[in-house]
Amino acid sequence: MSTEKTVLIANGQGFWGDSLLGPKRLVEEGPLDYLTLDYLAEVTMSIMQKQRLRNPELGYATDFVSMLKEILPTCQEKGIKVIANAGGVNPRGCLEAIKSVVSELGLSGLKVGIVEGDDILDQIPELMASGEQFKNLDNGAAVETILDRMSSANVYIGAKPIADALAQGADIVVTGRATDPSVVLGPLIHEFGWSMEDYDQLAAGTIMGHILECGAQCTGGNYCDWKSVPDFARIGYPIVEAKADGTFVVTKHDGTGGLVNVDTVISQLMYELGDPKGYLGPDCTSDFTTIQLEQDGRNRVKVWGIKGSAPTPTYKVSMSYENGYKIVGQLTYTGPDAIEKAELAAGILFDRVALYGTTIPETDRFIELFGTNVCYKGIVKQSEPPGEVLLRVGAKSQDKELLKLLGREIAPLITSGPVGATGFAGGRPRPSEIVGYWPALIDKTKVSTTVTVEEV
């Protein structure tokens, strides 16, 4: 056995809403140094901005705080540090909530660090005056078209502030919009003393983060050869055993379900991948074509060889904006002629809405007959008429009231439309806001992050 230092980092939350069993079992069922948790997706920040507008104390992932209550005594006992991008648009509010939990549990001597500075919504006018353009990264469109509808603007910040918080003794670190891999890279920079120019190591840490960031998606979840995965119910969430040179092993706790092999890890490497040679992050650019993997015993995969290079001079910014409303409702139509009846019903629905006085344009209408291979459209042919189809019908509009009207007119189709309709148990659908996503860039020198560590 090598006595070389190994750091154990796990991820117990692949997204906001992931199973609470993940983090709980990770801290309880085996050794661990760091528990990381990923809460933020593109639209999440916009939801959190709205929550904070309604209540200035909110705007962070409240789930994180209630989960912390479950695991904190074990974490303190075993010395496991917790890192989460759960701060949303209000890391300070999250800090206050953590303080309440700590005192409720009767714990003391814990240090909580927060990282701020990613939220630039209030600074957009001055940043634009200083030359930032925030053109849409996907299509080059000018940000002026959405400025008055912008609902959030957050910089994807890197791992350094997290490492700084740990260096100041933090047991828990909460960030706003840090990138998903940063919550893993931060502790590695702290533990191994990597410099911000050790690009190969930074890339290795980034790729560890990429492998971990979707939780059980690298331990057998969502894996093509699903029949070979044992005990899904008790699936083990992933752990990396990292070394100072950037090599690592992907594994899970002994006795847990799921599967770690070269293919389950590669499956996750492929997830949401763009150009593999230029995986851009705030701290380095990682080259996925340098990754080497091999099986290293049961449920262990060794990874090495990763090369990285200097990061770009810009950070990515995630902006969101209000883009009207959408609604989708559903009814089930049974056969015979399930498809024909469902199509007829959708037509009746739009005609009835028009009878109230406003016609929804064809281009804003949505009809999907689920059960006719819609997910494999044009790929898997429907061989026989289906015995039943799920009609998903709805529309997009700037007019919320118009969509409410459409939502109200779905149930009446059961008694005043073609025979065979059922399954309205979900109730009347309501319009929801469409959150538009606007990716952009910002000069790194325009962004400053701050780290605050408090003993609670």
Binding site: M270, P276, V374, G436
Partner: protein, 110 residues
Amino acid sequence: MAIVQLMEIAIARSGDKGDGSNVGIKARTPALYQFLKANLTTEKVAEHFKEICFGPVTRYELDNIDVLNFILEDSLGGGGTETLIMDAQGKVHGLALLHMEMDVPDALLG
């Protein structure tokens, strides 16, 4: 030669990328990877997804892990946050690709 579905010779995973998706496909053996690299062209993939993907298809190669990565632009009906379709994030585009049939030399099949 035998006509097989790609799911017999590869695994895949997909996810959203803006208003498009990525589909990573990993061959089950290095020899099958060379076969896919030579035969699974962007044109074939674009044709396969013609009723799902309305933008260009780009291919990247990861020789180190026997993976081809395809980017399918405009394949989510308006993007992950705006679309109304069931598979809003292209979660099953990977399995959709694995339904493709190809004529594979017998020597490459186990």
